[in-house]
């Protein structure tokens, strides 16, 4: 018995609780053992009666007392003391070994016996709560506690009640001196009591996969009739006979892309790859922070670097640098808008704009289009751009492309479109986490694009033009290369409506301009403007003079609106500053260095009257 009872220390409470009739007092276990040892055995078997009635009760009386005082732990109690004063506090412990002196925590005097008579109750002054109050046994008269749980059920109900009650706000937790250790966070697993909602299991699946229609549910539950029409917000999908093929193709491409290896932590996380060999990564890095600086990632990407670093810019402002870096000549005019005109325009669509491309539209548009072919040959182009079918061609193309290119382009740039010189990159330009049809169209579009770029850039550098985001639109301007003037490019794509600005000024290259070598900056400079300009300049040198059409602004006010004073003759005064003397201008206008590769905003009005391609 003793041995049994000896295992009473606080820490073993858990195992303890299961035994009936066990009594414990916080700290005074051992003493209790001593005093009660002969009784313990008896109390274990509740039914047993040894000796007379009083005998039984006597042996258990102390135990009961101990039991009940234990039940009071943590409970608010009132202690009346000999002199008539009353304290209230949280019951902490009692000296069961001796004569049951009481220890309270956070006790306050609520009735002071010394103050009597004169002052009305309201005038009695409060006292500060004392952290610990010890009331010696001799002093205490009564301990009153209300609503004490004394049986198993009581405890259970109290526990539940408390769980609901206590809302721990952060300040309470941090202020409390009792909570010193950080809580160990555990991932949540659904408990048994948590309601199973199988219909919500796949909430993150694509909309057509879920067995739950939010509109329908809303209507049922609340009688709200929705006027939501998906087509108001996105391109209308033409669900023709070829839809299934497109979908299949899109799914395939999507799968390929999503299955790609990537160095980007976030992408990897999404795709389920575990890149965490490097244990410096904490939760924040894994799940929330933006990847900056890719010191460790830069190996092997030198040539792409400029492209990639610039993709942000490109996203927003159009891929001026890219095209420019590639070849001023080849600057393809990019039909900037998402709705794109990629197909419609002849242009060399930015490969990187997988995102752009990733619009449903393409799926519908493409087939109907007869793809503009530029003069320049390109076997690929001929192969498929011409008769884009959507499935097999794209596939072929894609396949051709994939092996040759290093696919890990997307990362540091965070899944931005990759401006990659190589066409190959194009269809893997970036993970496209868009609905499958858009993937499909993306794939196809990109193939188209690359084809186009091939054609246009026979010189070899597929200048992908500006990428465009759904949000911003930027078109690459003027590409004119030696062999390719705006007009010629327009001409080659004669069947399509040209998106080039016919009023644009010719771009003239300044061969005397200083060449610029981008330095490897770990952190992206805040201004996107600068980026573009640097890179552009770097590549400029070998190219013969060009004239660059400069157009700005939105709306048809092009002609009158030429804030860019691009003047190659002015070279001497131009220092390699990233900003044009006029100052950086964001948004629709962007000046990138002296040798402007002007990225201008192609207003939709201009070339885009409605959605026909």
């Amino acid at each position: 018995m003793n041995a049994q009872q000896a295992m009473l220390p606080k820490s073993s409470a858990n195992g303890f609780g299961h035994r009936r009739g066990d009594r414990e007092v916080g700290a005074r276990v051992e003493s209790k053992v001593q005093s009660g040892k002969s009784n313990q055995g008896r109390t274990q078997t509740s039914g047993e009666m040894a000796g007379g009635r009083t005998g039984v009760y006597e042996s258990s009386s102390r135990d009961r007392l101990v039991y009940l005082t234990t039940c009071l732990i943590g409970h608010p109690v009132e202690v009346h003391v000999k002199n008539g004063s009353i304290y209230t506090g949280i019951f902490h412990a009692t000296d069961a070994e001796n004569d049951f002196g009481i220890i309270l925590k956070m006790a306050r005097l609520i009735k002071d016996s010394s103050l009597r008579g004169d002052k009305p109750i309201t005038q009695l002054v409060s006292k500060a709560p004392s952290k610990i109050l010890i009331v010696p046994a001799k002093e205490f008269v009564q301990v009153i506690a209300k609503d004490v749980a004394i049986t198993r059920d009581g405890f259970a109900s109290e526990l539940q009640h408390e769980k609901h009650q206590e809302l721990l706000i952060d300040s309470a937790i941090t202020q409390s001196h009792h909570v010193e250790v950080e809580r160990v966070l555990e991932p949540w697993v659904p408990g048994e009591d948590d309601p199973q909602r199988p219909e919500l299991e796949n909430v993150f699946d694509s909309p057509w996969n879920r067995n739950w229609d939010q509109f329908e549910t809303n209507q049922k539950l609340f009688g709200v009739r929705s006027t939501f029409n998906e087509e108001l917000y996105t391109t209308k999908l033409e669900r023709g006979p070829q839809m299934r093929e497109y979908e299949r193709e899109a799914m395939r491409i999507a799968r390929e892309i999503e299955g790609e290896e990537t160095q980007d932590l976030h992408l990897a996380e999404e795709r389920g790859f575990d890149l965490h060999g490097n244990f410096d990564i904490d939760e924040e890095m894994r799940f929330s922070s933006v990847q900056r600086g890719r010191g460790f990632d830069d190996s092997g990407y030198e040539e792409e670097e400029d492209v990639m670093l610039d993709s942000h810019n490109i996203e927003t402002f159009g891929d001026s640098s890219d095209s420019s870096s590639r070849r001023p000549a080849d600057l393809t005019s990019l039909q900037g808008t998402v709705e794109v005109r990629i197909p419609s325009s002849s242009s060399l669509v930015d490969t990187s704009s997988l995102e752009t491309i990733a619009t449903k539209q393409l799926a519908s548009e493409l087939p109907s289009k007869s793809f503009p072919m530029s003069d320049n040959e390109s076997r690929i182009q001929n192969d498929f751009l011409g008769e884009y079918k959507g499935s097999s061609d794209a596939k072929e193309f894609a396949e051709k492309q994939s092996p040759s290119e290093d696919l890990q382009l997307s990362n540091p740039v965070d899944s931005r479109s990759l401006l990659n010189d190589k066409i190959d990159a194009s269809d893997k330009a970036g993970p496209c986490e868009k609905p499958s049809s858009s993937e499909l169209s993306g794939g196809t579009a990109s193939s188209k694009v690359t084809g186009e770029t091939h054609s246009a850039n026979s010189r070899g550098r597929p200048g992908s033009s500006a990428s465009s985001n759904s949000g911003c639109v930027v078109a690459v301007s003027a590409p004119s290369g030696p062999g390719l003037s705006p007009s010629s490019s327009m001409g080659s794509l004669s069947s399509e409506k040209s998106t080039l600005n016919p009023h644009a000024k010719e771009f003239k290259l300044n061969p005397n301009a200083k060449s610029f070598t981008p330095s490897q900056t770990p952190v992206r400079p805040p201004s996107p403007v600068s980026d573009g300009s640097f890179y552009y300049q770097a590549q400029m040198s070998p190219v013969p003079r060009m004239h660059m059409p400069v157009s700005y602004g939105i709306g048809s006010s092009f002609p009158g609106h030429q804030p860019v004073i691009y003047n190659p003759q002015v070279a001497p005064t131009q220092s390699p500053q990233p900003y044009h003397p006029n100052g950086p201008q964001y948004g629709q206008q962007m000046l990138l260095g002296q040798r402007q590769q002007v990225v201008y905003y192609q207003p939709e009005m201009q070339q885009y009257k409605g959605r026909h391609y």
Binding site: F16, E24, S46, E58, S61, R64, L65, T69, V143, D147
Partner: protein, 175 residues
């Protein structure tokens, strides 16, 4: 005091030397410490009102009747961790509450503080009620005792204070 009379289950009516009077059923009586454990009321539910009384202070008592043991030993159960947790939580609560209670202030002042805290951010600064960190209300917490803050804030506090005082008065008189 006769231990025999303090049998478990007895319902007693007790008068203490301090003037308390109550009825309770004996759960236990520990001779050694002379502590009588009583439960007030006859319920045998999971939660009871418990009173621990030092038998020394019983001035007078009478046996009302003899009932069964109010404590069902089979149902007794203790889980120290729960108790500990409960205590910790109570202490936390008390600590956060202590911010709310003024030290060395009358209960009237405390009532006013509580009333003000319903609609305004208030805190104690010794015995001064600080409202919105700018208006100060010091003893005796009359509208005249309001000082500081912008005129608008000051006015507002005054108004609320007056209103609350009236409420306390009417409540007091109606009792």
């Amino acid at each position: 005091m006769g231990g025999e009379e303090f049998a478990v289950g007895c319902l007693l009516s007790i008068k203490t030397t301090l003037g308390d009077e109550f009825e309770g059923q004996i759960i236990s009586y520990d001779r050694l410490s002379n502590i009588l454990v009583l439960q007030e009321g006859l319920e045998s539910g999971p939660r009871r009102n418990i009173r621990l009384l030092k038998a020394d202070y019983i001035k007078d008592f009478s046996l009302l009747r003899q009932d069964e043991d109010p404590l069902d030993v089979k149902k007794c159960f203790l889980d120290l961790t729960t108790l500990q947790a409960r205590e910790d939580s109570a202490i936390r609560q008390a600590e956060s509450d202590s911010e709310r209670f003024g030290v060395g202030v009358t209960s009237e002042a405390q009532t006013l503080f509580d009333a003000l805290s319903r609609t305004l951010p208030v805190r104690w600064d010794k015995t001064v009620i600080v409202v919105m960190n700018e208006v100060r209300v010091s003893s005796p917490y009359l509208p005249e005792s309001v000082s500081g803050g912008t005129p608008a804030a000051n006015e507002r506090v005054r108004k609320v204070l007056e209103f609350e005082r009236k409420r306390i008065q009417t409540r007091g008189t109606s009792q």
